[in-house]
């Protein structure tokens, strides 16, 4: 209890102080947090819109576990690809966390290795997403219609996974640029907080996927 009220007092102290409000937070990190807050609103509104059109459309909504199934060993396994994709992306968050840790330990070689591993898993995710798009398109799903029901199924699917896929792709590029600049020694005078900043972005993209997965594939 005493600890809790001490924490409370510290927060008030920080907000009442001069120069910086968030003590020990570099500018880039503060800016990334604020950007992610704004981006959260973008994805929330995408998902809310999806739920609204799903609720208002007159046509029946296609059955997700049938649409997103994959033939494996002669059986149709629902959500198989998505399970692999989700596993892949969560793994990438793990490697990202390791990279941040090694960054703060100033172990540049390992930090770069794990950043590149993260970028690799990200690229694999985008690859699998392209395969999923290809499969759905070849089955006749289009943004303006599909064989099973409401046209909004395709519109929302391509728009939301596409927007998320763009985020992942941009993240892969971002990771590789940071790895390159780290290797070049651009950040040698800093505390390598840039690794944490790119990590924030990456974990965010991963978190958004969890919501897309829940609302789009499981509902």
């Amino acid at each position: 209890m005493a600890e809790a009220s001490a924490g409370h007092a510290t927060i008030i102290q920080d907000w009442a102080s001069d120069v910086t409000t968030f003590k020990g937070v570099p500018w880039g990190k503060a800016m990334m947090w604020i950007f992610l807050l704004s981006d959260t609103f973008i994805f929330s509104i995408f998902l809310t819109s999806y739920m609204t059109v799903r609720a208002t459309t007159a046509e029946p909504w296609p059955n997700a576990s049938e649409v997103f199934s994959l033939m494996a060993f002669g059986h149709s396994v629902p959500l198989l690809l998505i399970a692999i994709m989700t596993f892949d992306l969560i793994t990438s968050s793990g490697t990202m966390a390791l990279a941040v840790n090694y960054g703060y330990r100033r172990d540049k070689r390992k930090a770069i290795f794990f950043i590149c591993a993260t970028a690799f898993f990200g690229a694999v995710f985008v690859g699998m997403q392209m395969f999923e798009w290809y499969k759905l398109i070849s089955e006749g799903v289009r943004p303006w219609g599909n064989p099973w029901g409401a046209a909004q199924f395709g519109s929302c699917f391509f728009m939301i996974t596409g927007f998320h896929g763009l985020h992942v792709s941009a993240g892969v590029v971002y990771l590789l640029i940071i790895a390159y600049r780290l290797h070049k020694g651009v950040y040698d005078k800093t505390n390598f907080e840039i690794v944490e900043i790119v990590g924030l972005y990456w974990h965010f993209v991963d978190l958004v996927w969890v919501f897309i997965f829940a609302f789009f594939y499981l509902w």
């Binding site: 910086t20 500018w27 509104i45 819109s49 609204t52 800093t190």
Partner: protein
């Protein structure tokens, strides 16, 4: 784990310009970027001014307007572009892009924004959005005429002007603008939170910075809704998805029949989830700036500083839960209407606190009727008038008959059109001496003020009456179509409309006098000196006027007091700047 090094503003490396291009075009100096934003916003604002003349010509003199070639298409395109330009590309860009950029680092005692490069890109992306917007005028079909709210399904169906290209450039331009705003906005918020000078606590910031801060946060959270709806409507238009488009039976438009099952109401919710906070994105910086103008020119501290700050924050929070009061007639469950009417009326409380505090600040003050002060006082009055009609429109039962009449036009022009513009004028007259080192011409300034202020009332007061008698807004022609007499238009409306139009032409013309003043005073104006108004905030304490790149000398200033130490008893001067130490 070692604590991260914080780059303090003192050790900030500035990107000094090497040529004309890097100094005035690709500049990373927040002051140059502010002026770039300002000039671009003003230029595009003049376009919107001319568009309003076209509209007023048609409304006031329908026969002459039609004879001069104002077709319904041109009329609707003018309405749409006028509204969108004024709200987004002038007011938002000027108050945040120009005032925000100029004032935040100077008022906080910082060298520059935290990421000057991103700040520079922000302006150039904004410029691109303006170019894309105006591209609508050269593409076939012209700009969109869907009304500034761009409601589907009509916005993307044939019959509405600009359906070929105009709607695409409009939506594209909005998306680009939001990217530009986000880059600037992230800079403003981070600078205010993490890069103040020594002694500058949040509760010592001038209210201008508070207003800009809250408005930027609102922008970062509200613009996503507009971004998403722009993306979705573009998809509806370009590849025939059906997010907003219901099934439509049409004998003459084959494209219209391709849609099925979308929700036009969803667009309205998204649009106003952005659109209502947008009102406060424009109003909050104006609240902040006007507080500073009143305090400086009345030589008195702002009354209830803390209350003013919390009112800004409260208005910001509340502005996110009132959006559906724009949609009472769209078809809504009565309980929802009740909820949104209640929240809307609650917003009047913090707003009224601000108005009372402004009034009490003036009470028994040593008021100097300078041009900035005149504009500031007229803002308070105009805002009260516009705000009071908001109480009418916020109530569902009163709003229903007034909806889509000129009463609404009068309300929002008073409260969020003219009011912030008056503050922008006041702010320009106030800070021009710091920006250029010269004063604006006082005589022209007073003419500009009186014509603008009186003109405002001559234009918008009659519109309240027009609304009460039921004159619908957005109608191209109510006279000719029915052979001189119309069921919609009482006879008195025609005369009033002609009067409003003539006033609008005159007031519009006087804005060019203002531009003339800006240009001529740059060379001919009286030398201003570092602090012509006797103001206390840090921007008046720079070693050079106009401030050079980097703003301060080797040392950043240290702040010892709030920004409102005016007429302190027992002091020689009637103001004490923020960086003067307190006596022990």
């Amino acid at each position: 784990m070692a604590q991260a090094e914080i780059p303090y503003q003192e050790s900030m490396e500035l990107h000094h310009p090497h040529s004309w291009v890097t100094k005035y075009w690709y500049s990373q100096d927040h002051k140059v970027i502010a002026i770039q934003y300002g000039i671009t916003a003003m230029a595009v604002g003049l376009v919107a001014l001319v568009l309003s003349w076209i509209m007023r010509m048609q409304i006031g003199f329908p026969e002459t307007g039609a004879a001069w070639g104002i077709t319904p298409d041109i009329y609707y395109q003018s309405i749409t572009m006028h509204g969108m330009i004024m709200v987004i590309y002038l007011l938002t860009a000027f108050l945040l892009g120009s005032f925000g950029n100029y004032l935040i680092p100077l008022m906080l005692g910082a060298r520059d924004m935290v990421f000057p490069f991103v700040n520079m890109i922000s302006y150039h992306v904004y410029l691109l959005s303006v170019i894309v917007l105006l591209l609508g005028y050269v593409l076939p079909g012209g700009p969109t005429g869907a009304g500034w709210t761009l409601y589907p399904p009509q916005a993307i169906l044939s019959g509405t002007p600009g359906v070929d290209w105009g709607i695409i450039t409009m939506l594209g331009s909005l998306a680009i603008f939001i990217v530009a705003f986000t880059m600037g906005g992230l800079n403003y918020v981070t600078t205010i939170l993490q890069a103040r000078t020594r002694g500058m606590t949040l509760m010592r910031m001038p209210l201008s910075v508070w207003g800009i801060f809250a408005a930027t946060v609102l922008g970062l959270l509200a613009f996503p809704a507009l971004f998403v709806s722009a993306v979705m409507m573009l998809l509806d238009k370009l590849i025939h998805t059906s997010f907003f488009m219901p099934a439509i039976a049409s004998a003459f438009d084959a494209a219209a029949t391709q849609y099925d099952g979308g929700s036009p109401l969803l667009f309205q919710h998204l649009f106003w989830f952005f659109g209502h906070p947008e009102v406060y994105i424009v109003a909050l910086p104006a609240f902040g700036v006007v507080s500073d103008l009143l305090s400086v020119h009345a030589r008195k501290n702002i009354f209830g500083y803390r209350m003013m700050v919390w009112a800004i924050v409260a208005i910001g929070v509340l502005s996110f839960i009132v959006w559906a009061h724009h949609m009472y007639v769209a078809g809504m469950h009565p309980y929802f209407g009740f909820f949104f009417a209640t929240t809307t009326l609650i917003i009047a409380v913090p707003t009224a606190i601000k108005v009372y505090n402004w009034t009490i600040t003036l009470w028994r003050a040593n008021i100097k009727f300078t041009v900035p002060m005149l504009f500031a006082i007229s803002f308070v009055i105009t805002f009260v008038v516009g705000g009071l009609t908001g109480l009418f429109l916020g109530n569902v039962i009163v709003d229903v008959p007034l909806s889509d009449t000129y009463f609404v036009v009068a309300h929002f022009h008073m409260v969020m059109g003219v009011s912030p513009i008056l503050v922008i004028f006041g702010g320009i007259y106030h800070w021009y001496p710091k920006i250029t080192g010269r004063m604006l011409n006082d005589t022209i300034g007073k003419w500009h003020f009186w014509v603008t202020a009186i003109g405002t009332y001559l234009i918008y007061f009659p519109m309240h009456y027009l609304g009460f008698v039921g004159t619908p807004r957005r109608y191209y022609d109510n006279v000719l179509a029915s052979g001189g007499e119309s069921a919609f238009y009482p006879e008195s409306a025609a005369l009033l409309n002609a009067g409003i139009s003539i006033t609008a032409f005159v007031v519009g013309a006087f804005q060019f006098l203002f531009i003339y003043n800006l240009v001529v005073s740059y060379w001919r104006g009286r030398e201003a000196g570092p602090n012509p108004w006797g103001a206390t905030s840090l921007e008046w304490r720079t070693p050079q006027t106009p401030p050079i790149h980097g703003n301060w000398g080797d040392q950043l200033p240290t702040v010892h007091r709030w920004a409102y130490d005016f007429s302190v008893p027992g002091e020689k001067e009637d103001f004490i700047p923020q960086d003067v130490p307190r006596q022990a």
